[in-house]
Point group: C2
Chain length 492, copies 2
């Protein structure tokens, strides 16, 4: 266990890094920028995958798998996309190692096994997928194509942090093909909505839905929709994006279809993705100085039962109660772990499960056996109470919903109190410095102004929110006219 | 749909390749040796994953994720493992592309972005994982570690075939660490047994369990257990392997633990895996000249309902029956697709689902509505019968089990009739040439003899079966004494 976590007020960034490692979520590996996702962290990711996968399938999408490698000639076909990713991509140039004659026992790249064409390890799969779709689409009858892929991708980022920015990460990427522009726009919007629903209902993270500005758009997209969340330190985090790609990839890869009307048209595209970065958002939305706090809907272990005993005899009696509770709770669909290991003391277990964010802890001692009670501790409030054994199942079932809702409400009220409307650049800087959060301000619509503001404050436009009334105003930096406010923030 | 499949007797290999593509399972991609797994093929793989994952978790394993890349210095640490995989590995040498000044719009590797140390794209993950376990293990209390990973791996094979041998493939790889040799041996055996159970109960493929000879062992293993299946063309296919790695990786990566007794000892290891290669085994065990045949336990669509109609009115009446059947069957946990698309004719649909191996097809026409019947077609026997609508659910439920069993029995009787005991090398060659299958023969136990037989016949020792009585005899090639028969075959 080691010593306590650095507190959030001491050093938020250090708190985060320590928490990820100490709660057994992930750790750095021997490969620069690549992480090891440990079993407990991966179990949370599996819960996320399960829910998202269900939502994708319910909306008609199917999973498939495309190659890890993108030949350079395909990679460069869509110019903007290539430009956006070329600067940070891992490139395979050889297909063999051989013994190094100068250093026995060591290997070296075999210069005779140089590939004719370099292969880029996919940073995203539009190129390889649209090169495939080309052969799948002849007529409008072949459309839409609604495919998702669960995969690893690599972006050679220079500064990395566990989950938030890693050279390799896991994600899902949807790639759809449509006969009309409107259908593609609707699809991109639908998937952004699914991400928002998932974030709010499962991760208990309130998000703002909106569009990205041209500067912040995905390389190769005509429109990027997104969901933006706010972390406890006042920085924003882009939690998911959904892109309307227009006909850019269809043109780059010559994907045309015979329309109902008899014409030959380029196909319309979308792509959309969320990644293991969501793990970072989950941690930074709910956790506290004692460790991880997990919403019940994503907790791999929802309830842990810890026996407190001095003799084998006591343990046997406690186990009887614990085993009954375990099976009754499981019958309600609640995941339970009964930790009767004798290698660790109860205090150690309490601290460990607190650190790992298990929503409910039940402790049972000899007195509880006598009295027919258990001690129930709630992770989010760090509160404790005694509950009659015959009321535990009902109480815990209700708590699953209550804690899920309460975490969301708490995060929402924090977020809502950290959206500040400002009307001058001085105020902008003051709020950003003293309070952080989202700053709702007028902007003249030009990339230059956005860049200038970024240069001066490090804040970027997180999104142009969808659900926001038009309002005449003037740009917070240039004073030029503006018809609506946008959300600025410093971001992860 | 295109024209009919090549038949198996005409050209088995061509039949296989055509089937994989026409049944929409997979296709070749723009990357040499890498495949695209199409949605229908991927759905079968997902069913396999689901069952295996459940079996792994039920035996105490957890999933995790380790980096895609292995730094060269780690890759070469376990000498035999490195030697086994160095000849066919993809190597990342650079982390950036830049604009090619000589060819506008084209990119080139940026020579200034050369990695200090080359990264091997994992062909298997022992090296990166044992380098990680090193930090996880101090004491016997940290053991066992029971971890599985679902991942993509790359082996730069020169001759590739869809599913059977591809440069990139999907698999799971279990990597466990133990305090004692016996515990590791038991784990390796347990996982081989799980693979056998999965193959027989879900894939309906009978397998022989056994050990590999030294020649055929995994690079770096002290013992390799395996399950061997027999394909319809008389060639064997290694369907899963489980390795006892001894202390080889613990020594290479210096992984020691403080034992209960107070000593400091090297950890014992296993690894085990199955891959998308299983898709090839599934196809080649059950399918026929009309296309894929799927065991119900792995069929993404177990029942398809096709309406046969001339008017909208008829369709409405048929749909009423079909929708009721669909929901009744689904209530029994059976997956059903009602294909009422008007873009394709019934005949086209019949052929398509036959090609794709959907176990049961129900066809409903106006006469069936009148008479209260449906036409039920069984994919494995290509048989048809009329069934009363109120008996369909019961009938189909029973068929799911019946077809599963019947496919297994059919494959088993084929396999059993293709295990031939031979006692001379002439007989060996004759049987291999005229009949194929497994040849059960005495072998003197030397790698040289095994190599010589391979050279002369292309047959290798598939395994030394576990469940086989000892029998004194003499080697089929050298005449030297042998204490048990082993199984030879030509293999995929």
């Amino acid at each position: 266990m080691g010593k306590k976590l650095t507190t959030r007020s001491e050093d938020y960034s250090k708190w985060y890094n320590e928490l990820v490692v100490k709660a057994d979520l992930a750790e750095n590996s021997a490969v620069r920028g690549c992480m090891v996702i440990k079993p407990y962290g991966y179990a949370i990711w599996e819960k996320m995958q399960g829910e998202l996968d269900r939502m994708f399938k319910e909306t008609g999408h199917q999973n498939a798998y495309f190659p890890l490698f993108v030949p350079k000639s395909l990679f460069e076909a869509e110019e903007k996309n290539a430009e956006g990713f070329a600067k940070e991509c891992a490139v395979v140039t050889h297909y063999r190692l051989k013994n190094n004659p100068d250093e026995p026992g060591k290997l070296m790249v075999d210069p005779e096994a140089k590939l004719d064409e370099e292969l880029v390890v996919r940073p995203t799969s539009e190129a390889i997928i649209w090169n495939t779709y080309k052969n799948w689409v002849q007529s409008y009858r072949d459309l839409p194509i609604l495919i998702n892929q669960w995969a690893n991708v690599v972006r050679w980022e220079m500064r990395t942090r566990l989950f938030l920015r890693t050279a390799e990460f896991l994600w899902q990427e949807g790639h759809t093909a449509h006969a009309t522009k409107q259908e593609a726009l609707d699809e991109a919007m639908q998937m952004n909505d699914i991400y928002a629903t998932f974030a709010e209902e499962f991760m208990a993270i309130p998000v703002v839905k909106g569009s990205k500005t041209e500067n912040e758009r995905f390389a190769g997209a005509e429109e990027t929709y997104c969901i933006e969340a706010l972390m406890q330190d006042g920085k924003a985090l882009q939690a998911g994006t959904s892109h309307f790609l227009g006909q850019n990839f269809a043109k780059a890869f010559d994907v045309k279809f015979a329309s109902k009307e008899g014409g030959l048209e380029h196909v319309w595209a979308t792509s959309w993705g969320v990644s293991t970065r969501l793990m970072g958002a989950l941690i930074m939305t709910h956790s506290d100085d004692n460790g991880l706090v997990l919403p019940p809907n994503l907790a791999p272990i929802q309830v842990v039962i810890v026996p407190i005993y001095k003799s084998e005899d006591q343990l046997a009696q406690i186990s009887e109660v614990a085993n009954k509770l375990t099976s009754d709770l499981r019958a309600k669909g609640i995941s339970v772990k009964y930790d009767d290991r004798d290698t660790q003391k109860p205090g150690w277990k309490f601290a460990q499960y607190e650190l790992q964010g298990v929503p409910v802890r039940l402790a049972i001692g000899p007195k509880d056996v006598e009295k027919g009670t258990v001690e129930l501790a709630r992770r989010d409030l760090l509160s404790k109470e005694f509950v009659n054994q015959d009321e535990v199942v009902e109480k815990v079932s209700a708590l699953m919903t209550e804690m899920q809702d309460s975490l969301f409400e708490k995060a929402k009220s924090f977020r809502d109190s950290h959206v500040t409307e400002v009307d001058s650049f001085d105020e902008f800087k003051k709020v950003l410095k003293e309070k952080g959060g989202f700053i709702s301000a007028h902007w003249d619509g030009s990339p230059e102004t956005e860049n200038k503001i970024k240069e001066l404050t490090k804040a970027t436009i997180r999104c142009i929110p969808f659900n926001q009334e038009k309002e005449e105003g003037s740009c917070v930096l240039t004073g030029k006219p503006s018809s609506q406010r946008v959300l600025f923030a410093k971001a992860y």
